[in-house]
């Protein structure tokens, strides 16, 4: 379990992480979602004690990471920047990691096999592709068989097969009862991987809820109704217990499918000008949620 309380990081007077509170629970995959520069990596570095919080605290298994006697057996982390020396072989990289935490050397072979790098274990890491580098990073994260696994942008640079592998690995770790904390800037990826979502933008938590709830709240479909006698139509639909929101001259209706709404309105002798099922994607929801928090906007006009 990871718990942050009032966690704050200030760089040059600017808050990169702004007093955030959150808890990452075991037994599920928690997605840490936010645009680039939102504070995901900074938060993860603070969890590992690499960066010192300006204010607040963060604990892993109820104590500070720094006070762990063998931290790799408690938390395994894949960091975004490849923390590997290009001149060292994959096996030697894992060997020193194991030695540093008193982990038996036999574990090196196990994790190499687990991530599928056993055939290239003797090669220097500098020759690895981005995807192989990610696999080595994941092997390093798993070397101590830790109950908490933290992966910063794990699918970056992976081919589709690798992406699927990371997804199923995260799932399996969570099913084993581990705490799995995965960051990404891709909503679509999180929708496939996470059970729970923590959305961060400009260093502030924007949402912290189960994926299902997040989807229901932010990415629900509705039926757009346009009618000349919109007040009567609205009254009729609300009278049937449907959820109706008025946006300008359109009504957004939830709780009934489009044909049934059309029949209901027609049955009461009212005219319809438009009846459309609108599905906003999760990606849209995420964009909307984080629109104000994106650090750098591209100056491109996109039709909404």
């Amino acid at each position: 379990m990871i718990r942050a309380q009032g966690l704050t990081k200030t760089y040059d007077g600017k808050n990169a992480v702004n007093g955030i509170d959150f808890t990452v629970e075991p037994g599920r995959v928690t997605g840490f979602l936010g645009p680039n520069g939102a504070g995901k990596s900074t938060t993860m570095r603070m969890i590992l004690g690499l960066d010192a919080p300006t204010k607040g605290s963060v604990t892993v298994n109820d104590h500070r990471y720094v006070s762990s006697p063998a931290p790799l057996r408690e938390v395994g982390a894949l960091l975004e920047a490849h923390a590997v020396h290009p001149g060292r072989s994959a096996r030697n990289h894992l060997r020193w990691l194991a030695a540093s935490n008193g982990i038996p050397t036999t574990r090196v072979g196990e994790v190499l096999e687990l991530v599928g790098l056993d055939s290239v274990a003797a090669q220097r890491a500098g020759r690895f592709s981005l995807g192989m580098g990610q696999r080595l990073g994941i092997a390093a994260a798993l070397i101590g068989d830790p109950p908490v696994v933290m992966l910063d942008e794990p699918v970056n640079g992976l081919d589709p097969e690798g992406v699927r592998w990371v997804r199923s690995l995260a799932r399996q770790l969570a099913d084993d009862g581990k705490t799995v904390f995965v960051s990404s800037h891709l909503m679509s990826e999180m929708a496939l991987m996470a059970d729970h979502l923590i959305v961060i933008g400009r260093g502030t938590i924007l949402a912290d809820s189960p994926l299902q709830d997040f989807m229901a709240e932010h990415a629900s479909a509705y039926v757009r109704v346009k009618a000349p006698q919109s007040t009567d139509v609205e009254a009729l639909l609300v009278g049937r217990g449907l959820d109706v929101t008025r946006v300008d001259d359109e009504l957004r209706v939830q709780g009934l499918d489009a044909p049934a709404i059309g029949e209901l309105i027609g049955g009461h002798g009212l005219f319809l000008h438009e009846l459309t099922l609108v599905r906003s994607s999760l990606e849209d929801a995420f964009m909307e949620l984080t629109a104000d928090s994106v650090e750098y906007h591209a100056r491109t006009e996109v039709a909404a």
């Binding site: 006697p69 057996r73 920047a81 020193w96």
Partner: protein, 264 residues
Amino acid sequence: MTELMAAPTSPSLGRAVKAEWIKLASIRSTWWTTLAMIVLGAGFTTIISGVVAGDIASGKSHDSPGEYITQGLIFSQISAVVIGALVVTSEYGTGLIRATLAATPVRSRVLAAKAIVVSGFLFVVGTVTAFLGYFGGNGFFRSEGVGISLGDEHILRSMFGAGLYMAGLGLLAAAIGLLVRHTAAAISIVLALVFIIGQVVQLIPGTFGEWVMKLMPGNAGPGIVVPVPFGDHMLTPWTGFAVFVGEIALLGLAGLALFQKRDA
């Protein structure tokens, strides 16, 4: 995997040392640099001894073989500086420092482990280089009838002193590396300090300049390496080495303070 979790876990410097040793030994450049250190150091001592042995034997030169028997180690200094600097700066260049600190979050322990590994390694290599140079060079002296023996005054001290001095140079470079966190900068600074600045300060006039020169790390430290000093303008061997160690300690403490404070 279950017994993995059950294993007793206590923080230990020994583990950090083992990890640092694996790191140092698993990089090819370490061994190339070490090879250069031994070959250049022992090789030049041998060559220089071969050149002067005849003159000393014939009385044309009034120098003593002891002045030359560790001369080649001047070149070994470069390798010691490179190895010492890289132990720290290569981690910053590659981002590896984050993995290191995630594995061993107590930063003073990371530094202690690095210091033990780099100084231990360079002590051994420096001493071996000195002995090889001694045997190579003394071969020429002996064939000219002016050979020396390990039992002679200061010879053994200078053999192990070479190891101590190389270890110190490595630590000096590591400390500077910690301050600047950049390989080329760290190596340039230490080499300049030892080879150039140490000579240039001689131009400062008066007693002040004399003392500045004596106290420079590259002048104070290597006194213990030479069995017979070239002149009497330097500090005595152990006094000089103590000054050298003090300078390393100061820089090391400054490095530690920054290391503790800075984000990785």
